[in-house]
């Protein structure tokens, strides 16, 4: 009578597996921006090492992907390099977005080496819009070398793109519809610009190394060009400074709260600084609802 016995054991173990599966382990799922990612990955690793909390980090979809995952219940924390917008709240009405700023970053227009050495060092807002809309197709028109403009556009879902579009057109939703070659992550943007002559993209200034890709200074209306260095950003003179966010659905609870706590604490802020962003002056800054 061995066979019935074996079947019973198999059935019981299958049942046990299913029951075990019903109780998901306590995990913090973090998803979103590739700008915020390096800080969070290191913070998560340190936190896991010290407390054993499981923290899963992924960057698929960028800032909008993170916000979508948060709203969808697929993540506890969203990383975003742009604030939560009215459009987000309309799209996901059931989600109570609670953004917490963890640092400040300078968004820059970043160009390839041949352009930098060819004299392209700064842009004003009109020139940036002209480049984006394709009205300027050769760098010669802007006083640079005779070379086609290759604008690698950050995908519209990316936080970097939204901040850039907001700067050019007041509101990202008002940005004209253009078709440009697209890049997703910060890593990809940087790689493509570094390897393509005449290239420009939107990218966090901290990611420009000054050897292969270069961050341009931005000119205000008739004003002097302002480079995106820490001092100008801290003093508020650089026009495209933006805060970096960790967002939860409702106030952060449990392990997610511990992650936020860590990032906002001295060690987390040191990580922020080490990755080239600006730490917050004091504590966290909550966005007005």
């Amino acid at each position: 009578m061995k066979r019935p016995g074996r079947v019973r054991v198999l059935a019981l173990s299958a049942l046990a597996a299913l029951l075990g599966a019903a109780a998901a382990p306590a995990t913090v799922r973090v998803q979103g921006s590739t700008t915020v990612n390096p800080v969070v990955v290191e913070a998560a690793a340190a936190l896991t090492r010290e407390t054993g909390i499981r923290i899963l980090v992924d960057t698929a979809g960028g800032s909008s992907g993170g916000i979508a995952a948060l709203a969808d219940g697929r993540a506890e924390v969203a990383m975003s390099s742009r604030p939560v917008s009215a459009d987000d709240r309309k799209r996901y009405p059931r989600t109570r977005f609670e953004p917490v700023a963890i640092g400040v970053d300078a968004l820059a227009l970043v160009v390839s080496r041949d352009l930098w050495e060819g004299g392209v060092r700064s842009l004003d807002r009109e020139a940036a819009a002209a480049l984006y809309e394709g009205r300027v197709s050769n760098w010669r028109q802007l006083g640079g070398p005779d070379r086609r403009v290759v604008f690698f556009n950050k995908e519209p879902g990316r936080g970097t793109w939204e901040v850039f579009a907001g700067w050019l057109y007041g509101d990202a939703a008002a940005a004209p519809l253009v078709s440009l070659p697209e890049v997703g992550s910060n890593e990809e943007a940087r790689s493509k610009v570094a390897s393509t002559p005449g290239a420009i993209t939107q990218l966090s200034a901290a990611w420009a190394d000054g050897q292969r890709v270069f961050a341009l200074a931005l000119r205000g209306a008739g004003g002097a060009p302002i480079s995106p260095d820490a001092e100008a950003v801290a003093a508020g003179r650089y026009p495209l400074a933006r805060r970096l966010w960790l967002i939860t659905d409702g106030p952060a609870r449990g392990e997610a709260a511990r992650l936020l706590e860590f990032v906002l604490g001295p060690r987390g802020q040191e990580l922020v600084r080490r990755h080239g962003y600006l730490p917050l002056a004091a504590g966290g800054a909550r966005e007005a609802p």
Binding site: A60, A68, Y92, P181, E182, G184, K192, T196
Partner: protein, 297 residues
């Protein structure tokens, strides 16, 4: 003895139903999830030449074009090269060398697409940029780059299947042809090739199917620029420009963010449905062709 039920028959039947059920459910799922876009645009979705998700415009034509163009380039390069190489290994090469050639080719057929994508990024992109210099390209991310990368990916498959097909022609027929005084080339052309035609067609169609459905490698090098269509019907100009394929769009960020908007998600699934229909349709059609031919042979 006849009364005994055969449990394996039930198992076999269950497996067949499971497989068939899966196939149908995949088709049904994409059809159902994409309903919003069909309701909104009808068949205009397929002919629409503008895709701006922020503006609620969804047209699949540029991506269908990109998919077909890249695959066409792939086949145009891999077919002659692969068939020629297979003719060499099956008809000219002495049998003792066969393993030495077949083994590396079969191994390379198994190389993951992400590795091909990586090599495409690092090597092919620059090469294509230099090649296209006279045409003043934007960068090395073009439909041509994607097509060439696909060609390299399907080359081992085409070679190996074509070689199998040619080898399938019985040696006796080749010997008879040679015995009649035909040269090697004539025997190959007149005897082996016609008889191996179904298998050769299968090799090409299988390669084509893979080229149409490949995502990761294409995603990395195609440029991902929407709304790229040729100005004139048979113009080759878009090959030198960045483009977008059905697979590169599906593998991109929009699939992650589209869920909140039913129309956007419907459009994404609509792309999936089109891709599914395209590849499965091609596969079934080629299968029917081969069955018919085999029936006649």
């Amino acid at each position: 003895m006849r009364g005994r039920r055969d449990p394996l028959l039930w198992w076999s039947g269950a497996a067949t139903l499971l497989a068939a059920g899966f196939g149908l459910s995949m088709l049904a799922l994409f059809a159902v999830e994409s309903l919003p876009v069909w309701r909104q645009e009808g068949l205009g979705f397929l002919a629409g030449s503008r895709w701006f998700y922020r503006g609620g415009e969804f047209g699949a034509l540029p991506m269908i074009y990109g998919t077909v163009a890249a695959a066409a380039v792939a086949l145009a390069v891999a077919a002659p090269l692969g068939l020629g190489a297979a003719l060499f290994t099956a008809e000219v090469l002495p049998a003792s060398w066969r393993m030495a050639v077949k083994l590396p080719v079969e191994l390379l057929a198994g190389v993951p697409s992400v590795v091909y994508g990586l090599l495409g990024l690092l090597l092919l992109r620059d090469w294509v940029y230099r090649l296209l210099r006279p045409f003043d390209p934007l960068s090395g991310d073009t439909l041509l780059t994607a097509g060439l990368l696909l060609a390299v990916m399907i080359l081992p498959t085409v070679m190996t299947l074509a070689d199998d097909a040619l080898r399938g022609v019985p040696a006796s027929q080749r010997r008879a042809a040679r015995g009649l005084g035909l040269t090697g080339a004539e025997a190959a052309w007149g005897v082996s090739l016609p008889r191996a035609l179904p298998g050769l067609a299968a090799a090409l169609l299988l390669g084509l199917g893979r080229a149409l459905g490949e995502t990761i490698a294409v995603f990395l090098v195609v440029g991902r620029q929407d709304n790229q269509l040729p100005e004139r019907l048979l113009s080759l100009a878009p090959l030198a420009r960045p483009g977008q394929t059905l697979t590169s769009k599906l593998g991109g960020a929009e699939t992650f963010i589209a869920w909140g908007d039913p129309l956007h998600w419907g459009a994404i699934c609509g792309l999936g449905l089109v891709l599914l229909a395209l590849v499965v349709g091609l596969t079934l059609w080629s299968g029917r062709l081969l069955e018919a031919r085999a029936g006649r042979a």
